[in-house]
Amino acid sequence: MLTTPSAPDHDLVAGLDKPLHVLREDGTRRPDPILDPLLRDVDLELLRGLYLDMAVVRAIDDEAVALQRQGELGLWPPLRGQEAAQIGLGRSLQETDFLFTSYRENALAWCRGVSPGEMLSVWRGTTLSGWDPFAHHMATPQVIIGAQTHHAVGYAMATQAQGKDDIAVTCFGDGALSQGDTNEAMVFAASFHAPVLFFCQNNHYAISEPVDVQANVPIALRPTGFGIPSLRVDGNDVLAVRAASLLAAQHIRAGKGPMFIEAVTYRLGPHTTSDDPTRYRDEKELERWRRRCPLGRLERHLEQLGASLEELRADAERRSQEATTAMQEAVAALPSPAPETMFDNVLATEHPGLLRQREQFRAFTASLAPEQTEGSAA
């Protein structure tokens, strides 16, 4: 019996020499034989929608950074620069496709209707998990790098066993490529033909470490060794990312097994608000990527199609104002959790030792309360 599969097809990966793209830097449309068939539904309305998404998400991101600087949030991981990669993916999926992401995918949370309070509560430290994963078909942010890739594959295997056509999508960065979990997850996905999309945002840095520390070949080449077809796409081209994601989702939904997308993009901001990127990257590189802003590219394209930029920007401004005002209100309204709630939900069932500790905590807390004695009031 032959137990060794044949070598993978050399056509497993596209975009290695230059990431697939359909919008040039100057905003002109470029034909692409792989992505064009997925772009037939693109019209002005859809383009406007993608632009507004990216603009609002940028405003949300900027506002969160401001809230952190004001002391309202403990930490924030900015996504500036990665709007196209996330919106392109987010606007290509079905509502029931389940997302397992890292902590920087707040644009995807936006696509999934996560409210400002739900998005910010973790970063304010009032909860460990901001939203109901089942209500939004999106797990809450994973902090352990790469750990969520397994969860997506397991979820996908279960949907497959149940005969459903929704897929699982896992998002991670270039740093996660070095984690055992990410690589193991690709083994599981390939072996069981799991309906899962691996979506890597190569934003060039894992905190301070440049991507070539994680991979000295294009990241998109890695999954091909697992037998997983892969697309390397310009992550700052929202149309290209959307088309690539649609293509991958079609492939996966057709029962052809997992796919991988490397979206080549750049983190314009710090790793988190605690980071100082001037220590590890130079201004010239940063400037080069600032000029490749995903919003600017789509603006130029829309202008060429005859859209009124003035109107579009005003619309974006109005929606951004709404979103950021809602964030300010939501942060102010986030409740401080009652201390005793820290004992809740450790287990789904009763735990006598925890009940005892909760009682002891309650008694101790009560013992700290100032005694109400007559005449002690000022």
């Binding site: 998990s129 797990a139 809450t140 750990a147 397994h150 594959v153 979820y155 599981f188 939900n345």
Partner: protein, 331 residues
């Protein structure tokens, strides 16, 4: 209703009946399908339930656990097998950072009804990494239930209860007792978190779990020759700990000996003895004693009989609590 069978057969029956009872239950692990597991615990289950419910996984423990987490997100109740105790460490992060926390992290929204089966302990003359007792790592981790089984009936009923439980449960199976036989009644259910008094006695309380429960019962029989009446408790649940059962016994006997295979440093015996001191200090007639593996990596097979607590070391500790002549000092 009861049948005589080995612990291995009892575990197999528990898995079979769980798969039969609930279509969301599935098994995943290395070599568990076609081979039936290296200890044959899953023998015949793939043939009966199919490859999508009895899954031969790639050789990646983090993957086995992490994939199970994703399946649980989708409503499944995975039973993951870690082939040997010493192989669990690559899966440690998924267990302590994901499985144990998801219910807490999501304020109870996401349940993790995983059962993680781990054959544990020594006594089979195995090579390195095949005889470990890693229970303290997991008992130390909030959000996990950790249980052990000691005989075929306990193995059957506890496994069924673990799979039905909505919490993640680590079930430690004493591999050197897999072939011990006993009566099994499949209609008997078990409470996951209770210890059980297997033998009542007046003079001292002897606490053990997993593979040492049999040893503890044998020690109690041997002690009779010296006129010593030992009470034997099978702890069963290592987290949460049934400290009430231990304390009630110590209040009667005034003496406590705890035995396990794992090294003693920061171990279950540390916790059981601390609990007893906190709960019934005034009833203690002597300092509690423990009989454990030494604080060394598990030694080569040729030395394991010196490492593992046996009847004589247990009785020596009992003698210490009773002020009788013992290896450390003359009476």
């Amino acid at each position: 209703m009861s049948t005589t069978m080995t612990m291995a057969a009892a575990l197999n029956a528990a898995l079979r009946d769980s798969l039969e009872a609930d279509e969301d239950v599935l098994l995943i692990g290395e070599d568990i399908g076609t081979l039936g597991g290296v200890f044959r615990i899953t023998d015949g289950l793939k043939e009966r339930f199919g490859a999508s419910r009895v899954i031969d996984s790639p050789l990646a423990e983090s993957g086995i656990i992490g994939t199970s987490v994703g399946m649980a997100y989708r409503g499944m109740r995975p039973v993951s097998e870690i082939q040997f105790d010493g192989f669990v460490y690559p899966g440690f992060d998924q267990i302590v950072a994901q499985v144990a926390r998801l219910h807490y992290r999501t304020s109870g929204t996401v349940q993790m009804p995983l059962t993680i089966r781990i054959p544990f302990g020594g006594g089979i003359g195995a090579v390195e990494h095949h005889s470990e007792s890693p229970e303290a790592y997991f008992a130390h981790t909030p959000g996990l239930r950790v249980v052990t089984v000691a005989d075929p009936q306990d193995a059957y009923s506890t496994m069924r209860a673990a799979i039905e439980c909505d919490d993640p449960v680590i079930v430690l199976e004493p591999k050197r007792r897999y072939w011990s036989k006993g009566e099994v009644d499949t209609s008997v259910s078990a409470e996951l978190s209770s210890a059980r008094v297997l033998r009542t006695g007046r003079d001292a309380t002897l606490v053990a779990y997993g593979p040492l429960v049999v040893t503890a019962l044998e020690a109690a029989v041997a002690a009779e020759d010296d006129g010593i009446d030992l009470e034997v408790i099978d702890l069963r649940s290592l987290s949460p700990l049934d400290r009430d059962t231990v304390a009630a016994s110590v209040r009667r006997t005034g003496r406590l000996v705890v035995a396990h295979e794992a090294p003693g440093n920061v171990s279950l015996s540390s916790e059981v003895i601390t609990s007893a001191v906190e709960d019934c200090f005034a009833h203690l007639e002597a300092a509690p004693e423990r009989v454990t593996g030494y604080d060394i990596p598990y030694p080569p097979g040729a030395l394991e009989d010196h490492y593992l607590p046996g009847i004589d070391r247990i009785l020596d500790a009992v003698d210490r609590t009773l002020g009788r002549r013992n290896s450390r000092e003359a009476a």
